[in-house]
Structures are given as C-alpha cells and as structure tokens.
C-alpha cells in the first residue's frame, strides 16, 4: 500500500507550463543548420563515413617513400670515402689489436657479454632424425648484450638483441 498515492495523483494534476511556440521554431531552425548527413533517425541509420580519395592518398604515400629513400642516400654516413665502421666491428670475445701509441688508431675491445634468460620451456621428448634414442627439447628465450670499449678514447659500443636457443639434452635410461 502506497501512503502517497493520493498525493501523487494530486501532483500529476499539476500540468507543466507549455514551452513557448518560439522554442519549437528555434529548435527547427537549429536542426536545419545541422549537417546534411545527420538524419531524423536518431541512431537507426549508420553514421556518415569519411570518404577517402585513394588516388591522392597513394600519390602522397609514394612521394613520402621517395623522399625517405632520397634522404637515406643523402644522410648515409657510410660513403665510399668515409670510415668503414663495419671494419671496426669486433668479433665477440676476440680482442682487437692493442692501440699502437705511435699510430693512434681507434680499436674497440670486447668488454663483456650479458645473457639474460627470460623463459626456459621444456618441450618434452623428441626423436631427432631416425634416432631411437629420445632427447629432451628445451627452448630458451634470452636477451644478450655485448659491449665493446675503445681504451684510447673511452668510447663504448653496446649491442643488445633477443635470441632463442633450442637445446637437445640426451635422456639417460634408468
């Protein structure tokens, strides 16, 4: 039983004042100014899509690609007359010749290798080739960082890269 039903009925008898006729005209005028793609459907029709001019877009992308290629050629530091950086790249673990004090030349010496194992997953037994002897396949994902240092200048070079390693471990019978 609602104690307020009488009061609610009385309140409903109060009729809200009607809006002025100008309000409807103002709304009509404002809606006339709406973009033509918007419709009366209030969400029934799909919203307008952006039109793409594929030809212009393709032309623009081709131009951008050409610019990047040209820019790459112009700013490439490894020109024929310049220093050969690749020649200075040491092999991991191998020391480059010590700097000659008479003919000061740049030489990087491998300083250390860091290997971080992120995951190590046992993938179960495998029979490589036609072998009857099972092996356990273990896959490791690592991140290796190698650092070189030039003792003469103090400059250092560090290279990091991800690596994946698969080990086959023979399984001994018991």
């Amino acid at each position: 039983m609602n104690d307020f039903s009488e009061l609610e009925a009385e309140l409903k008898q109060l009729r809200p004042a009607a809006p002025s006729p100008e309000l409807a005209k103002r709304i009509e005028h404002a809606l006339e100014e709406a973009p033509a793609t918007e419709t009366r459907t209030a969400g029934v029709l799909p919203k307008p899509k952006i039109r793409v001019n594929w030809f212009t877009l393709g032309l623009g992308l081709a131009g951008a690609a050409a610019f990047l290629l040209l820019a790459r050629v112009d700013v490439d530091p490894t020109s024929a007359d310049g220093p050969q950086i690749a020649a200075n790249t040491p092999i991991i673990g191998e020391a480059l010749p010590a700097p000659n004090p008479d003919t000061v030349q740049r030489g990087y010496v491998a300083e250390g290798v860091t290997r971080v194992v992120y995951t190590r997953r046992d993938e179960g037994l495998a029979f490589p080739g036609d072998s009857e002897q099972p092996v356990r396949r273990v896959r490791s994902q690592t991140h290796e960082t190698t650092q070189w240092r030039d003792p003469s200048t103090g400059a250092s070079l560090r290279v990091s890269y991800p690596a994946e390693e698969v080990e086959f471990i023979p399984v001994g019978g018991q």
Binding site: F4, L7, E8, E10, L11, K12, Q13, L14, R15, P16, A17, A18, P19, S20, E22, L23, A24, R26, I27, E28, H29, A30, L31, E32, A34, A36, E38, T39, R40, T41, A42, G43, V44, L45, K47
Partner: protein
C-alpha cells in the same frame, strides 16, 4: 539529400517531452527563458547525435549537464539573480498551468523541496521516468533515487499540510 527539419519526427518527440523537459530545466534556473535555452541546446544536441529517441534518460542527462555547465559558466550572474530575488520578493514565473489556490500551494511546496529531491520528483511525476532512468541521469543508485523520491513526497505532505 536528407534534411533533419524536413521530417516531423523530432516534433512529435518534442511535443511529448518538451513541457516536462522545460519543467526539469526550470529546477536549475529561475526563468522560463533560461530553461528554454537549455532545452533547445540539449534537444538539438541529442537529436544531432542520433541517439535512440526512446532513450529518455540520456535526453534528461543532456539537459542536466547543459544546465549545470551554464550554472558553472555563469555563476556570477546566477548569484546576482538570486540576490535580486531574495531582496525584492520578485514574482517567479509559474512552472505549472492553470493553478487554483490549492494547486498553487502544492506547487509552492514543490518549489521549497531540496533540489536533489525536487529533480527526482520532477522526473518521476511529470516525465514518467523509471527509478532506473533517474538513477542513470543522476549517476546514483536506484535505491538512492527511490529514497529521494520518498523523502520528497514525505516532505511535501508535511509542508503542504502545514501550509494548507
């Protein structure tokens, strides 16, 4: 090319919801003109966004949001108007039509309700919103909406009887 105003759908929607919307907007401002400005902006925004026409809660939430924005934007003006009203016992435009003595007293009692109760009452009684809709408009729980409604009716009953 389709033109929004070439269709009468918005008119049907507005003629049904318009009086209730203006009454709701009047809870935030003192004059019908300001309330109509709010309703115009809200209705046009709602219609242009192509929301489902039966999403009344969203329409009322839009009105409320625009009204609160207006109050925040123009708080100095609102304060001036409130001061002027308090000083001069100025005539406030009626929110309801054709009032006899008894109904005028009831309308005055509605006007004296705390704002948070009054807005729930306006949405429930004169706009037929459900408590779920009201909760969505005010960003409160349905229970809170229902409580505010009951408090409003209770206070109204008490005040109305006192002033009768």
């Amino acid at each position: 090319m389709e033109n929004v105003a070439a269709h009468d759908d918005w008119k049907a929607c507005f003629s049904e919801a318009g009086p209730g919307l203006v009454l709701f907007a009047r809870q935030f401002v003192r004059t019908s003109a300001d309330a109509e400005d709010i309703v115009q902006e809200a209705f046009v925004r709602f219609w242009r966004k192509q929301h489902p026409v039966d999403n009344r809660a969203l329409l009322f939430a839009t009105v409320r949001s625009i009204a609160l924005d207006l109050l925040r934007r123009d708080s100095r003006r609102a304060r001036r108007e409130a001061d002027a009203l308090a000083d001069s016992d100025q005539h406030v435009e009626p929110q309801f039509d054709e009032l006899d003595e008894s109904k005028r007293a009831l309308a005055a009692a509605v006007d004296r309700l705390p704002a948070e109760q009054r807005e729930v009452l306006v949405m429930k009684i004169w706009n037929d919103l459900t408590f779920a809709d009201i909760a969505s408009v005010l960003n409160i729980s349905q229970n809170t909406a229902a409580s505010r409604y009951r408090y409003a009716l209770g206070a109204l009953k008490k005040n109305f009887i006192t002033h009768e």
